[in-house]
Symmetry: C2
Subunit: 509 residues, 2 copies
């Protein structure tokens, strides 16, 4: 790593919570007791530690700010743990009456400032932590749907559904912590999106608590009863309501999983092959192509083969700039696999055994944890992502890398396609560079802004394929959906949240 | 037919246009000339015939009203034919300034009052006929997308795309007349939706003209940049803007098409088998199951086999209540076909040769034409449709039939599933009964209301799976999307159309 990005200055260790000056809670006593009357006094937390823990998400800047006690972290004035959708509604009613801001909180894994305890024009803001909404409400095995409460974490959802023989198949990198409600609120996409779809494709219904009362959407798999308002609730990031229950499509647990890894020569050919798989209906349930730089790191970390030997092996087979393609098929897949592998071989792909795929699988939730060690070592490390149509993918890839290099000098930029569609694909970048000890926050803020501008210019890509908008992407949303789009979202918000208590400052800023 | 529904009283013939008293145009002269300055005087039509032709859609009541000159048809005050998206915007700007209502008009095939020239609170209303927006704007063969102007009719879209080797694959019953813009505005679903998806699944971008200026949506196949506003524009039925261009996903023209027909024993078993096909990923591109009554009529009309001989043949194979399942696969399909047919055989399905499937295919756009002959003969004939999850499909089927029988006595009710999903399916009903000569309009209005109430009660089904809302379903929309949903749509409308000139009275009433 050092040889690739240069020397770093070890970072400050994580500040102990006690070192962070937590501002005193501004929650008025009468508000606190009105909320306590709904959820019970034990479910209103005001300890600094509880409030700090839910003060933001897991972006690089979130982590950095927690290491710099002086930086001033927006801290909620209280944490409320409602026990049911009805209690969520009642707490909202109290917050409307008392004009207190509400930040809905699931796994707290936002990397775009989606759960920052920003108070906007409110004197106080609470975090509504949905962890007690942890039930599988119902399973309909005939329709293959299930209703889950919003606070159910992904592993618990899988555990509860598997008792009925079903899986959701939604496995984003945030899997270990993230919740069903968070997936819906942010239009999440999991690593197996090629097989199971994006989260919005799985949702058949949504139940929300709003300042104007409960709102239930979705009575059929598809409808022509006007615009699909489910698709307005999904991705609303807590600004149009607190999602309390989600009805999802489930599938039978696959009886087997099959892995392959293939090396292809160069990014252009590699992404071309993924395009062919997508357009011929041959994507594996997980289909993930790394560029040359990411491949080099992955093969090194996988450690199965000595990298130099592998390079010679691949070079002898015409693959001089290896790009790793990881594939995973769920359930009976012999036919599909055969066709996909034939297509890849005819495109010059070289089979690598399943070892690199299994290595990726083992480490696939580890990214967030590795980050802490890298931060300790003084590395600026962050990810960002976008998507576009196939004909613009090369342009988007080049523009983002150029922008990051312009701001950061010689960073290590790794990229992969992990979500492919017939008409286009996502690009997921991981950036590593020595931390600027003088201005670490400004360093990344400038790089991130440059990348966002490169994505937004000429509407070449979407500002987010699956991380959502939060506060970080809000300045770029208008370029994508237009002033009219922003006005429509603002009007929708006023209709359900006239006093603006819901997740201040997010999505539309 | 007569033996099934009883005697009818032949209807009045179609009234000649001259017999219909067309109210004089209320379009102020200065408005007319301002519009003419944009589109040219030859593209502003005020002849009674032109106005009458675009006074409504093709529902049974639309047809009936045209046979009863006294019934008072809402007639537009002028028909405007813009030649480009820019001209559409300029005409809207004039209409905002002059406070004139605008009804966007494509193929005019709405069966729910979606293009009724209702003026709401406006003194005048024009029909904006998009027939001159008939161009294929661009094709992106790499991304497999194409941009089509809104007024392109479906057959022309297929013809223009086929020159590039592509197809849209969107084939609703309105195919011969309906337009790309209309498909998007109404969330259309074609007969091959199992293979090609619903129209909203094909749309990657939309361009609209609105009273507040142009609005463009969609930069990537998928995005987490907030709610998917494309899904707000799609299904907005001309109330949030005039769709002028649609970017769609296209697919290579299939090199072959393969048909099968299978008879299964009874509706319950038949819908169960379609469910299994859907949940195992084995749906044919067209998958269409008729109930016992529809099957009897279809087999009679197909005329390939004598019905009595066929009944004996099926009965000997355990199929006493035959339900016809028509299947069509596009392109290379041997694997899929083999699996699907195996599943059907193991469920008691009896292969019928491809003849009934081919017969259905020949007649599949004929329904609207047959209706005129039936109307002449004094038959009340109309269709209605809905959708729900699999576990409620039987309940929905029973409730709608019971409601129609309660109102109509002994109608012939035929039903089919033509759109199946993993979690549910649509139900499409065709109703025939002797026309009540005293009150033919009231007769159907009461039956339709009873059916809509049966669908809406307990939110058991959606008020429309692919016909849209228009004016006819507007009273039932709140039951489906809630007061909040209606308020959100109204707020969105105010944001883009502050003075309410767009398609008065539609969708949210």
């Amino acid at each position: 790593m050092r040889s690739r990005i240069g020397d770093t200055t070890p970072n400050d260790p994580v500040a102990p919570d006690s070192a962070i000056a937590t501002p005193p809670s501004q929650l008025p006593e009468r508000t606190r007791s009105a909320i306590a009357a709904v959820v019970g006094a034990g479910n209103v937390l005001e300890e600094p530690r509880e409030r700090l823990e839910r003060s933001g998400g897991l972006s690089y800047l979130d982590l950095l700010r927690r290491r710099q006690p002086t930086a001033g972290i927006p801290t909620p004035d209280g944490v409320v743990l409602p026990g049911s959708p009805k209690q969520v509604q009642q707490v909202l009613d109290v917050c409307v009456e008392h004009d207190v801001g509400v930040v809905p909180f699931g796994g707290g894994t936002s990397v775009v400032g989606g759960v920052t305890a920003f108070r906007g024009d409110k004197k106080a803001v609470i975090v509504l932590d949905l962890e007690r909404l942890n039930r599988l409400v119902s399973v309909d095995p005939i329709s293959r749907t299930a209703v889950l409460q919003a606070g159910v974490r992904a592993p618990d959802a899988e555990r509860m559904l598997s008792a009925h023989g079903f899986t959701l198949g939604h496995v984003p990198q945030s899997f270990e912590r993230a919740t069903i409600g968070g997936f819906a609120a942010t239009r999440s996409a999991g690593q197996a999106s090629s097989g199971y779809g994006r989260f919005e494709d799985m949702v058949t219904g949504v139940r929300l608590a709003t300042p104007r009362g409960e709102w239930e959407l979705g009575v059929a798999p598809a409808s022509a009863a006007g615009p699909d308002l489910r698709q307005l609730a999904i991705g609303s990031e807590g600004t149009l309501g607190v999602i309390t229950e989600v009805a999802v499509r489930v599938r039978p647990l696959p009886d087997s999983e099959h892995f392959e890894a293939v090396a292809v020569d160069g990014w252009e050919r590699g992404s071309g092959l993924v395009r062919e798989l997508a357009q011929q209906g041959l994507l594996a349930d997980i289909t993930r192509l790394s560029d040359v730089d990411e491949t080099a790191v992955q093969l090194q970390l996988a450690g199965t083969w000595k990298t130099s030997a592998l390079r010679r092996y691949l070079s002898a087979r015409g693959v001089d700039s290896p790009c790793l393609l990881v594939l995973s098929w769920h359930g009976e897949s012999a036919d599909r696999r055969k066709k996909a592998m034939r297509l890849l071989r005819s495109g010059g792909g070289v089979w690598l055994t399943s070892a690199p795929a299994r290595a990726w699988l083992r480490g696939r939730f580890g990214g967030p944890r590795q980050r802490d060690a890298l931060l300790d070592a003084g590395v600026c490390v962050e990810t960002l992502e976008t998507a576009t149509h196939w004909s613009k993918l090369g342009t988007l890839y080049d523009r983002v890398r150029t922008a990051l290099r312009r701001e950061l000098g010689h960073p290590l930029i790794m990229c992969h396609v992990s979500h492919a569609y017939e008409t286009g694909a996502s690009l997921y970048f991981t950036v590593l560079t020595p931390r600027d000890p003088e201005d670490p926050i400004g360093q990344w803020e400038r790089a991130k802004a440059a990348a966002c501008e490169a994505i937004s210019a000429d509407r070449v890509g979407t500002i987010s394929h699956h991380h959502a908008v939060g506060m970080d992407h809000a300045p770029y949303l208008t370029a994508e959906i237009g002033e009219l789009g922003r006005d429509v979202l603002a009007a929708a918000k006023r209709a359900v949240d006239p006093t603006g208590i819901l997740n201040p400052g997010k999505l539309i800023g």
